[in-house]
């Protein structure tokens, strides 16, 4: 899908209370000027209206199972991961989001 079409970005972690909140804060700042809602949830409770899901590779298998057809973007490190940076860039400038 195209990054410009993303309206709701969901960050999932195990409990939905720790690392996902942290990353959501960072991405909300990065995407402040875009019309994108950034939310955080437990990996087993990904909302159906999410356009794209971001979660750590260690949880990606669970996220994919719960996300239905929603693209899941896995990342490796919590600060400055290239996959997350690519997603932010795709949302800002348009471009394909590969999941």
């Amino acid at each position: 899908m195209n990054g410009k079409d993303i309206r709701k970005l969901v960050i999932a972690c195990d409990a939905g209370m720790g690392s996902s909140v942290m990353l959501a804060g960072q991405l909300r700042k990065a995407l402040r000027k875009q019309d994108v809602a950034v939310e955080h949830t437990p990996v087993d409770a990904i909302p159906a209206d999410a356009d794209v899901v971001v979660c750590h590779t260690g949880l990606a298998a669970r996220a994919r199972r719960g996300a239905g057809g929603t693209p899941v973007i896995p990342f490796e490190v919590y600060l400055g991961d290239p996959a997350v940076d690519r997603l932010v860039k795709a949302i800002k400038d348009g471009g394909e989001v590969d999941a």
Partner: protein, 403 residues
């Protein structure tokens, strides 16, 4: 794709299942951590050996742990299964096992709450299309009331006694480990489990409930510190900062701050996943810390969640010996993890000889495979690989520490 650092670990099916089960248990506890902390603070303050002993306020301790906390777990468990209606019957059913129980019924609440909610969900699904117009509220309220009442009775008579036995076994098991000085060895399981994102499952699903029981009897428990000790993770991160691959170093200080002060342990997991033998450093630190905690008889009053140094300070009970034990163990675990981690990273020599994260000393298949994978991706997206991770890592680091 972010697979440039590590391949997705094998066997994720089983791991995902364990994660899911443990995650569900943790998901019933974690939203209620505030209540656990409130209980911990009240206990630390008002019990006879507390900071401000007070008989009347001390009476809060027992009902909170025997009723409030299990009821919150049962309520939350029910809500996970069937929304607000599930939450209500979950709480009602939990009362059944709580009343008359000898020990705080956390495990029982984790089963009874969701089970009652599941039964109500089945019933709701069954009658959904058959209720006459105007009778919805009547049916809704009475079905919840009947399921709740039935489950409370069943819980009291059947589930309660069974869970009582289980809880006692689990407690005895931990007691056995303590008596035989084997508790430090649990770190050999706990530290790897953390990194596989089982940290919440281990801490809030297993150790926390057992620890609360112990804390209710003795005013403190070492079980709260087995998983939550931020020392090993800090040691590993510091080892990376000084001796790790050069492209990773800029991101480490911010990660260490988030880990140690913010208590978000997840941030150091990737650093171990990308160099799995660093696991040994975390394990060594964990064993050291627990050994010192046990030897000094240290303990906390409640789960320090998140596992931040600030949460530790808030949950350390009165008594100079206890403070010495907790913080000696914490510092020692960080120091040992740092030492072992630094050695495993060749004290930076490996980073000097090969800036691309290659590791001649490892020599085994794993290291070679990692290296060739890194090479491949490096040629494929060379600009992205070389400049990408470092620059944004630095930027994000500055942004995060600014807060």
């Amino acid at each position: 794709m972010a697979t440039t650092y590590t391949p997705e670990p094998a066997g994720s099916g089983i791991r995902a299942n364990i994660q899911r089960l443990g995650g569900r248990m943790a998901a019933m506890v974690m939203p209620n951590i505030g209540a656990f902390i409130a209980w911990g603070l009240i206990t630390a303050l008002f019990i006879p050996t507390g900071w401000l002993p007070n008989k009347e306020l001390g009476e809060l301790v027992d009902p909170m742990i025997k009723f409030l906390l299990p009821l919150l777990i049962g309520y939350t468990g029910g809500r996970m299964v069937h929304g607000q209606r599930g939450a209500v019957v979950g709480a009602v059913a939990t009362v059944g096992i709580v009343v008359g129980a000898e020990v705080p019924m956390f495990l029982g609440a984790m089963i009874t709450g969701p089970l009652a909610a599941y039964l109500l969900r089945l019933f709701d699904g069954l009658v959904q299309d058959r209720v006459r117009t105007g009778f919805e509220m009547l049916v809704d309220n009475f079905s919840a009331g009947i399921v709740g009442a039935a489950m409370a009775v069943a819980g009291n008579r059947v589930i309660g006694p069974v869970m009582n036995t289980f809880t006692e076994w689990a407690g005895d098991g931990v007691g056995w480990l303590v008596d035989h000085d084997l508790l430090p060895l649990t770190s050999l399981l706990i530290e790897p489990a953390k990194v596989l994102f089982l940290n919440n499952a281990v801490n809030h699903g297993v150790l926390g409930p057992l620890g609360v029981q112990e804390a209710a009897q003795h005013g403190k428990s070492v079980l709260f510190m087995l998983e939550s000790n931020p020392g090993p993770g800090l040691g590993v991160l510091l080892a990376y900062w000084f001796f790790g691959p050069r492209r990773l170093r800029p991101s480490v200080p911010a990660a260490a701050v988030i880990h140690f002060f913010g208590g978000i342990h997840e941030i150091y997991f990737p650093y171990i996943l990308m160099k799995p033998r660093m696991m040994l450093a975390a394990m060594a630190g964990g064993v050291t810390g627990v050994a010192i905690f046990v030897a000094t008889g240290a303990g906390l009053v409640a789960t320090p969640s998140p596992g931040s140094i600030f949460a530790y300070l808030a949950q350390t009970p009165r008594g100079a010996g206890n403070w010495v034990g907790v913080y000696t163990g914490l510092v020692a675990s960080a120091a040992v993890s740092f030492g072992v981690g630094a050695a495993l990273l060749g004290f930076g020599k490996l980073a000097e000889s090969d800036p691309e994260d290659g590791d001649p000393a490892a020599g085994e298949g794993e290291g070679a495979a990692e290296e060739s994978a890194a090479d491949k991706s490096a040629t494929k997206e060379s600009t992205d690989e070389q400049t990408g991770p470092q620059e944004p890592a630095d930027g994000a680091a500055r942004e995060t520490t600014a807060h």
